[in-house]
């Protein structure tokens, strides 16, 4: 459904040129439309106007009545009959701007040669355009101790600050993390933190990016480079499914920083700190660079590419094989795995879900997600948003920012069906529907949605039997828009590419003969396997039972699944070809290791949760690392069963030519909700999610980033706390037969039957330590 928005247009004259802009447009923005650049510092199109820096003063008259003094063009909306004279046509405006620029420089140090911002600094640039070469100020400048940490990640050089309040307004208005404010007054005014509440925001890097001077710098980038030595490449973020547009800045083959790109329909101009600051994994010392094969003594030795490819091809040809590909693969790589499984291995045994998953989920994805068109825009227009097993701030931060924008703008109603109240939902003033882990589905029935509502369901919904069935039913009965938001960047692309046992590329059901013919024709093959493939856990079980003998694994951490012991046993048993960037539990057990390119070293695209392509080029030019796709193509060639995908471009073209499936989708067989377990007094049901900043593989080596992660705690309800005699900060032990974790307790809003802990944080790696993460009965005791 498309709606035509009627916008009132207003005509104004700026510097003698007429321009027509929507009602409510600020003068400074109307001038931009004419190509007239009015200098500014505090103005930012996504922040509320503040009019603090006074740099953008212009002369304005309305219907012949002139304002007595120049006005800040960043605070005044256009009006009919308005005539604006900027610095280009008004001597008063010109002098006012020149005067303000001179004043801004009174207390600003002349340290551009050692300042990180030098070369890309709005103050430097506008001092050149609007200021004068020589200062008339002969007095004493204000100085401060420098720099001070406002977090482990963000440093502040107070003497450089022009007090535009962009950072504080961003934190308050966009991130709803008002942890930095302006303190003191006069020229001693400064950005500061509350001493007991550090600047631990998931979005703090944006404050650094929008600082118009060199006052805020990122600890990891400070003094590393001059802007003019960097080569910038537009890129896409690989850390989650939000789909941020990014810019990657590289010097001499090494990524030095990443910035949020500008995409109004997705991330606007923001990103999260993980996307911005987690990229050292690419240059980690233990990065795999040469192929290895396991020799006859069982030892991994370095090998040449021809040797390794031959060994891989031989092992895969000799065994019945399956493919496990993690959620980090690009769309094109996933397509390569998908085609490789079908053509080279002759199987549908492929699954991209390297995490807790279910067969219900696989059907749900094929029935309701593949080809889905719900977008950020639907959130913008929603009458309410229902979050199911999904914590946007932790699991897809840009979705959180969008919800928060609509909440702040028009009090968007957000309802969260969750086991525990999260900080993010609190910030959205969301309605928290408290459920016991596993009982989420029961709460759905009480939700009344309309066809203007949006349901955002997270990948964790697969962990509660019957939940996805209930979500699908609610969407159907209410007409609400439905979106499935996985955590990893590659999952939606992998789904569309058919890297799953029940779907071929383009959402074509394996079970549909016509769909198989479509693909077989495109791939110039006689036929494709017609049985639905096995899921990841079935593949592992099949290896352990001997019916599958070889595995191709790319980007999978076996500890991301609850049956990690089973997985490790299967890896030991099977012939494993591992396509990886860094050593892992898989490479340790692999028979052939083939090093692959990281995201910054290759081109490709991700499909974000909306299904929107996020394409990127290789940011690092002179890498020798090859994409998964290229390597799979070489193995297939070696096996004599070519997949003909030598390049990313070839894959992208082939995907485009396949188009989408327009036939019937498979339907979801309703799964019923599991009965709630009965608990003894020392038992609880575990629930968890991953925090944005945790022990994730791609965050390794980022100490400054890790230091801003949220505290690891075990959360219990006040009732349980009373029963256990536990108060905030006391140690709490959660245990299963497999093991235990002991964490400081936090008494909070959580279902009485539940205990929550972060899934993969320092001291709390539930899947490996407890073997369970959601819905299972655990023991809880005071430590």
């Amino acid at each position: 459904m498309t709606t035509t928005e009627v916008v009132d247009m207003i005509s104004v004259v700026i510097d003698g040129f007429e321009v027509s802009v929507p009602k409510g447009t600020l003068v400074i923005r109307a001038a931009e439309k004419l190509g007239i650049q009015i200098p500014r510092f505090c103005d930012h199109p996504l922040l509320d106007p503040v009019g603090a820096c006074r740099q953008c003063l212009v002369d304005i008259e309305i219907n012949g009545r002139a304002f007595p003094k120049p006005q800040a063009s960043c605070t005044i909306p256009v009006e009919p009959g308005m005539i604006v004279k900027t610095q280009l046509t008004s001597a008063v405006a010109e002098k006012a701007q020149r005067g303000v620029m001179e004043l801004l420089l009174v207390n600003h140090p002349l340290d551009c040669p050692v300042c990180d911002k030098g070369g890309e600094c709005p103050l430097q640039n506008q001092a050149m355009s609007t200021g004068q070469g020589e200062t008339r100020f002969e007095g004493t400048k204000r100085t401060f101790q420098k720099p001070i940490n406002i977090s482990s990640q963000v440093l502040l050089d107070r003497e450089r600050c022009v007090l535009c309040a962009r950072c504080t307004r961003f934190s308050a208005q966009i991130a709803s993390d008002p942890f930095i404010t302006l303190n003191e007054r006069g020229a001693l005014q400064q950005v500061g933190i509350y001493e007991k509440q550090p600047f631990e925001s998931y979005f703090s890097g944006n404050a650094v990016q929008i600082c118009p001077v060199g006052a805020l710098t990122g600890a990891s980038y400070r003094f590393r480079a001059r802007p003019f030595d960097l080569v910038s490449t537009p890129s896409a973020c690989e850390h989650c499914a939000s789909g941020c547009d990014m810019r990657t800045d590289v010097r001499r083959g090494k990524t030095l920083r990443r910035l949020a790109g500008d995409d109004a329909s997705v991330n606007e101009e923001w990103n999260c700190d993980k996307g911005r600051w987690a990229f050292k994994y690419v240059t980690a010392l233990d990065r795999l660079s040469t192929p290895k094969i396991r020799n006859s003594d069982g030892i991994l030795v370095e090998a040449s590419w021809p040797e390794a490819l031959a060994a891989a091809a031989a092992g895969l040809s000799a065994n019945k094989s399956a493919v496990l590909v993690g959620g980090r693969a690009t769309y094109e790589d996933a397509y390569g795995y998908s085609k490789f499984a079908r053509i080279a291995l002759g199987t549908n045994d492929i699954d991209f879900r390297a995490r807790l998953s279910s067969d219900e989920e696989r059907e749900f994805l094929a029935a309701h997600v593949v080809g889905s068109t719900t977008t950020y825009r639907d959130i913008d227009g929603a009458d309410q948003v229902l979050l199911v097993a999904f914590e946007p701030e932790e699991e897809s931060p840009i979705v959180f920012l969008r919800l928060n924008k609509q909440f702040r703008k028009r009090a968007l109603k957000v309802t969260a069906i969750a086991t525990k109240l999260s900080i993010g939902v609190e910030k959205l003033k969301g309605e928290f529907v408290k459920v016991a882990p596993g009982a989420e589905a029961s709460a759905l029935s009480s939700q009344s949605l309309t066809n203007k509502s949006v349901i955002l369901v997270g990948e964790r919904a697969a962990e509660s039997a019957g939940l996805l069935s209930a979500v699908a039913a609610l969407a159907q009965s209410s007409g609400a828009k439905l979106a499935w938001i996985p955590r990893r960047a590659g999952e939606r692309g992998a789904l569309e590419a058919g890297a799953i046992g029940n779907l071929l590329p383009g959402g074509r059901p394996v079970s549909d003969a016509a769909a198989r013919v479509d693909i077989a024709t495109a791939w110039s093959t006689q036929s494709l396997p017609s049985e639905n493939g096995k899921s990841a856990s079935e593949i592992i079980a099949a290896v352990n039972s001997g019916s599958i003998g070889a595995l191709v694994i790319g980007g999978v951490d076996p500890l991301d699944n609850s049956d990690s012991a089973q997985t490790l046993a299967a890896l030991d048993k099977a012939f494993v070809v591992s396509l990886e960037i860094a050593p892992s539990a898989v490479t340790e057990r692999a028979n052939v290791i083939l090093p692959v390119a990281a995201v910054t070293e290759k081109s490709g695209s991700f499909l974000n949760w909306e299904g929107r392509p996020r394409t990127f080029d290789s940011a690092v030019a002179d890498t020798h690392n090859r994409s998964d796709l290229r390597i799979l193509s070489m193995i297939a060639d070696e096996m004599g069963r070519s997949i003909s995908l030598a390049t990313v471009t070839a894959a992208a073209k082939e995907i485009a030519s396949l188009g989408r499936w327009d036939g019937a989708k498979i339907s979801l067989n309703k799964v019923s909700v599991a009965t709630a377990p009965s608990l003894s007094s020392d038992q609880a049901i575990i629930t968890s999610w991953r925090r944005l900043l945790d022990l994730g593989t791609l965050q390794q080596g980022e100490e400054n980033l890790a230091a801003t992660s949220r505290q690891t705690v075990a959360v219990i309800s006040p009732k349980r706390a009373d029963a256990l005699g536990v108060k905030d900060g006391d140690r709490l032990t959660i245990s299963t037969e497999l093991g235990s974790v002991t964490l400081p307790a936090l008494v909070e809003e959580i279902h009485d039957d539940a205990v929550w802990a972060p899934r993969n944080s320092r001291g709390s790696q539930l899947l490996s330590q407890l073997g369970v993460a959601h819905g299972a009965v655990v023991k809880v005791a005071k430590a």
Partner: protein, 426 residues
């Protein structure tokens, strides 16, 4: 032939003037009873008709301000009284509250009724503990007597001593618990003020003038003052005069008349310069003794009536030194929000310190004036403008004195001669 017209200050000489008993004895709380029986719009009209204008400095018609509050909007309305009297030289609201706090309380009741507000807040500067105590007592007594609490609540909020909080929107921010910094307008307080609700912000003296207007009628009030500046007001005389203090007179009285009433400049000295309405209003000299002290008269002579704080300086005073002191005040009190005020006052002080010490050249005067031109009308609120007034006006009238500092290589004045320490005034 006295020109004095004590209305607000009529009973200040009574020993117990600040008590509810004295206030009631002198006819207090009759006006609120009368007003509460009137239609709120009629109260607004009466105040409009009286010609009462804001006594906080800007002189905006009080009744008109009340009339801006949207009616029937189903929103809470608030009255906020600005008692954050902080302008150097200004000292009328504090004596008024010390001597007769109940007149403000009664004024609040009437104003709340007129603008359909259930809550009034008085934002008072925190340093004046004795005034805070009296006002607290007055409010408590008014509650006990049933004047407050029957549909109108009055809250006294004590500020922490920032000049900027006298700016009405900064005051509202401070009252809401934020740092006091001026807000972007529009929206104006009448539409979205305290807690984003329609709010009237009035000066203490403006609200305190209302009970007498209700009691005596618009015509009575109109009968005093000049054509466009009606009524009586408090003139606060301070500095090198024989008898400093509050002089309540009809608007339009001249300084010459007030000096006559007060016994003149301290003995043996002559008037050099003075402020008509606090340090933010451009200086006057002895040439301005006959300027009518009403909104139009002062404005026509190149200054502003402001708060009618008549700071008198005799010939012993170094104007450069006086201006430097004021400028240091503005630098200290600049809230820091906007560049011109924040950075400009930082710079102005440094130039003025040099000039007072006799360092620099005449070119520095040109720089100083150019700098003032870059601050005046460029800052976020009027406080930045105010900081330039003493500088530009003093250079206008006393340029030679500035230059004398430079040619002399030091200040030619003896600072001790201008002091009013004990004995100096005798």
């Amino acid at each position: 032939m006295t020109k004095l017209a004590p209305v607000l200050s009529a009973h200040w000489d009574e020993k117990d003037s600040f008590t509810i008993d004295a206030y009631t004895r002198n006819g207090g709380y009759k006006a609120s009873k009368k007003a509460l029986a009137m239609d709120p719009d009629a109260v607004i009209q009466l105040v409009k008709d009286s010609g009462l204008r804001g006594r906080g400095g800007a002189g905006f018609p009080t009744g008109m301000k009340w009339g801006f509050i949207p009616q029937g909007d189903n929103k809470d309305h608030y009255l906020v009284v600005n008692a954050d009297e902080s302008e150097p030289g200004t000292c009328k609201d504090m004596p008024l509250l010390l001597a007769n706090p109940h007149v403000l309380v009664e004024g609040c009741i009437i104003a709340c009724h007129a603008i359909r507000a259930k809550y009034a807040f008085i934002y008072i500067r925190g340093e004046v503990t004795h005034v805070v105590r009296r006002l607290n007592q007055a409010i408590e007594d008014a509650y006990k007597a049933g004047h407050l609490g029957n549909g109108i609540e009055l809250v006294l909020h004590v500020g922490a001593g920032a000049y900027i909080c006298g700016e009405e929107t900064a005051l509202l921010d401070s009252l809401e618990g934020f740092r006091g910094q001026p807000r972007l307008r529009p929206p104006f307080p009448a539409i979205a003020g305290l807690y984003a609700r329609p709010t009237v912000v009035n000066n203490v003296e403006s609200i305190s003038s209302v009970p007498a207007i209700i009691n005596n009628g618009a015509e009575w009030y109109q009968s005093m003052g000049t054509e466009k500046s009606k009524g009586t007001t408090l003139y606060s005389l301070s500095g090198h005069v024989k008898n400093p203090g509050q002089f309540e007179a009809p608007l339009g009285i001249t300084l010459r008349e007030i000096l006559e009433l007060s016994g003149g400049i301290r003995a043996g000295h002559t008037l050099k310069f003075w402020t008509p309405g606090g340090s933010s209003t451009p200086l006057f000299t002895s040439d301005h003794l006959d300027v009518p002290l009403d909104y139009e008269g002062v404005s026509a002579a190149g200054s502003m009536l402001g708060t009618k704080a008549l700071q008198i300086f005799d010939e012993t005073t170094c104007v450069v030194r006086a201006v430097l002191r004021w400028t240091e005040f503005y630098k200290h009190e600049s809230c820091g929000k906007c560049t011109p005020c924040r950075e400009g006052t930082w710079w102005l002080v440094q130039i003025l310190r040099d000039l007072e010490a006799g360092k620099g050249t005449e070119a520095d005067l040109a720089k100083l004036l150019d700098l003032c031109d870059n601050i005046m009308g460029r800052s976020f609120c009027a406080l930045g403008d105010g900081a330039t007034s003493p500088i530009t006006s003093s250079i206008k009238y006393f340029r030679d004195e500035y230059i004398a500092h430079l040619t002399n290589g030091a200040c030619p004045f003896d600072p001790a001669a201008s002091t009013l320490f004990e004995g100096a005034n005798k």
